[in-house]
């Protein structure tokens, strides 16, 4: 790890879904003011890892330190305080559909601060300006396009000026131009507000554009967690497959294949 303090420190994280092991011995760290990209194919466990980083699921074992605090050990009150320093933009935006865009962005301020109504409105409008959604505060989420929803969700995520920002699949389902704009926005947030940012994505181009460090997940394990340049230069065959977009060529065992097809029929 470099000289900067660690914003995120995960060590030996193991998680299960029912009896199935999803994440196996995950350890990595991300420094303050860095963009850490978590990359991996579908089913690699990156969404599960994000849920654990957000404290939404309880791990089987291991520790997750955010801003120096182990969230697997915190009391509800301590977690509540930590959440003021965390912002999350979900994949589908997760805007509250019963509220206007403005009310969505204002909600964290209303919950966490005792500011008066006008201050809250001005602060939320400032964040909507940042994401280029000025003037849209009275629309309902259903009236927005996909890219606008992601930007509104980002505005809600940063309204408390968090130290730590999580962004799930920023470019999924967006056209290249809008997706590039979001990448720019992420870099601006890092530089202007010195946020530590975690981005979960499977878009290579976007990942290398924004990442200071990249963690590559594959089938619940970490293949590599290093600087973007080191990951790009990696010779690991699975990482190369991901970077060069080569399909997986798993050898098929004929015996096992037959067994899978006829299981519970012959037995």
């Amino acid at each position: 790890m470099n000289a900067r303090a660690a914003a995120i420190e995960v060590s030996h994280l193991v998680t299960h879904y029912g009896a199935r092991k999803i994440l196996d011995d995950i350890s990595f760290a991300a420094g303050e003011g860095e963009v850490m990209v978590i990359m991996g194919g579908s089913g690699s466990g990156k969404s599960t890892l994000l849920r654990h980083l957000l404290g939404l699921n309880r791990p089987t074992s291991g520790s997750i330190k955010l801003l120096g605090k182990d969230i697997t050990q915190l009391t509800a009150d301590e977690m509540y305080d930590l959440r003021k320093n965390m912002g999350v933009a979900f994949q589908g935006g997760a805007l509250f559909n019963s509220m206007t865009v403005g009310e969505n962005v204002e909600l964290p301020l209303r919950e966490h601060t005792a500011l008066d109504d006008n201050t809250i409105r001005i602060m939320s409008r400032m964040k909507l300006e940042v994401v280029n959604l000025a003037g849209f505060e009275n629309l309902m989420p259903a009236e927005l396009s996909g890219g606008m929803i992601k930007r509104a969700a980002l505005a809600r995520a940063i309204v408390m000026d968090p130290k730590l920002l999580f962004f799930d699949e920023p470019s999924a389902g967006l056209d290249p131009v809008v997706s590039a704009e979001l990448d720019e926005l992420i870099l601006t947030l890092r530089d202007a507000m010195s946020m530590s940012i975690v981005v979960v994505t499977h878009e290579l181009e976007s990942a290398f554009k924004i990442a200071d460090r990249i963690t590559v997940l594959d089938q619940g394990r970490i293949l590599m967690s290093d600087t973007a340049a080191a990951v790009r230069a990696s010779e690991h065959p699975r990482i190369r497959a991901l970077l060069d977009r080569t399909p997986r060529h798993e050898t098929v065992d004929p015996e096992e294949y037959m067994e899978r097809l006829t299981r519970e029929i012959l037995g």
Partner: protein, 267 residues
């Protein structure tokens, strides 16, 4: 029956029993949590806001007045028709007032109110929470630091506990009015005489029994609606199923609670 199918049957019964116990436990935990936030939420920075309670009270209570009023009116009239028809055989039509008064206050008013609120609001609660579940809005609440049960369940529970007893009293009056109107036409019994006899026959305990039932129904409808909403995992179809389940189980829950309550109260 072969041993194989017998075993499958027994296994099925066992599995369903385990599910039932688990679901009952979940409902109990949900009730405990919703009440916990109602009582001590304000000291744990999770206040249940009065504005939210009143908003829900409008939806579950005030807006249910026309339908509950009409249904109770019709039920009162129906009781009068059936009562007079039955008692005619004994030449005791005059006793119909006693029958209507007691059955309405002790049984029909709370039951009709409960069933209609289960149909209107139980389904709405399940649909709202279920939709929020699949669009990650519940997760978004959690990461903002808003406890979903405090924000979504406690206000509805409080609103139900406030409005269902009030609706039940209204249903009492409307049903008695319906009965009185029919008796006035059929038996030429003046309305004031009908109500005079009613208030002679009915004791405070009868009305209290009905109101107490409605409190239990409020808990049943809220919990079953919310639990089914939180249980949604699979898309729009899941929301539809949860909604149906909330109404069916809500109505069954009300009738079973009523049976147990009546049994205990009349011993």
């Amino acid at each position: 029956m072969s041993t194989e199918s017998l075993r499958t049957f027994v296994e099925g019964v066992g599995r369903r029993t385990v599910l039932l116990v688990r679901e009952t436990g979940y409902l109990a935990a949900l009730l405990a949590e919703a009440l916990y936030w109602l009582v001590v939420g304000r000291w744990h920075r999770q206040p249940v806001r009065a504005a939210a309670i009143f908003r829900e009270a409008m939806g579950v209570g005030v807006q249910a007045i026309p339908i509950v009023g009409l249904a109770s009116f019709a039920t009162g009239m129906m009781l009068a028709i059936q009562g007079i028809h039955t008692l005619k055989a004994f030449g005791a039509e005059g006793q119909v007032v006693l029958g209507i008064a007691l059955s309405v206050t002790r049984e029909f008013a709370p039951l009709i109110t409960g069933i209609f609120v289960a149909g209107r609001s139980g389904s709405a609660i399940a649909a709202r929470i279920g939709t929020m579940q699949i669009s990650q809005e519940i997760d978004a609440l959690s990461v903002i630091g808003i406890n979903p049960v405090r924000y979504l369940v406690s206000p509805i529970l409080a609103a139900m506990l406030l409005t269902l007893p009030a609706l039940t009293i209204l249903a009492d009056l409307m049903a008695l009015f319906g009965g009185a109107l029919y008796c006035a036409g059929e038996l030429s019994l003046p309305m004031d005489v009908f109500f005079h006899r009613t208030f002679e026959a009915v004791e405070a305990g009868d009305v209290i029994q009905g109101v107490a039932k409605s409190v239990a129904f409020a808990v049943v409808v809220t919990l079953i609606g919310a639990a089914n909403g939180f249980g949604v995992s699979a898309g729009a179809e899941g929301v539809g199923k949860a909604t149906t389940r909330a109404v069916v189980l809500g109505c069954i829950g009300i009738i079973l609670t009523d049976m147990v309550f009546t049994f205990l109260a009349s011993r």
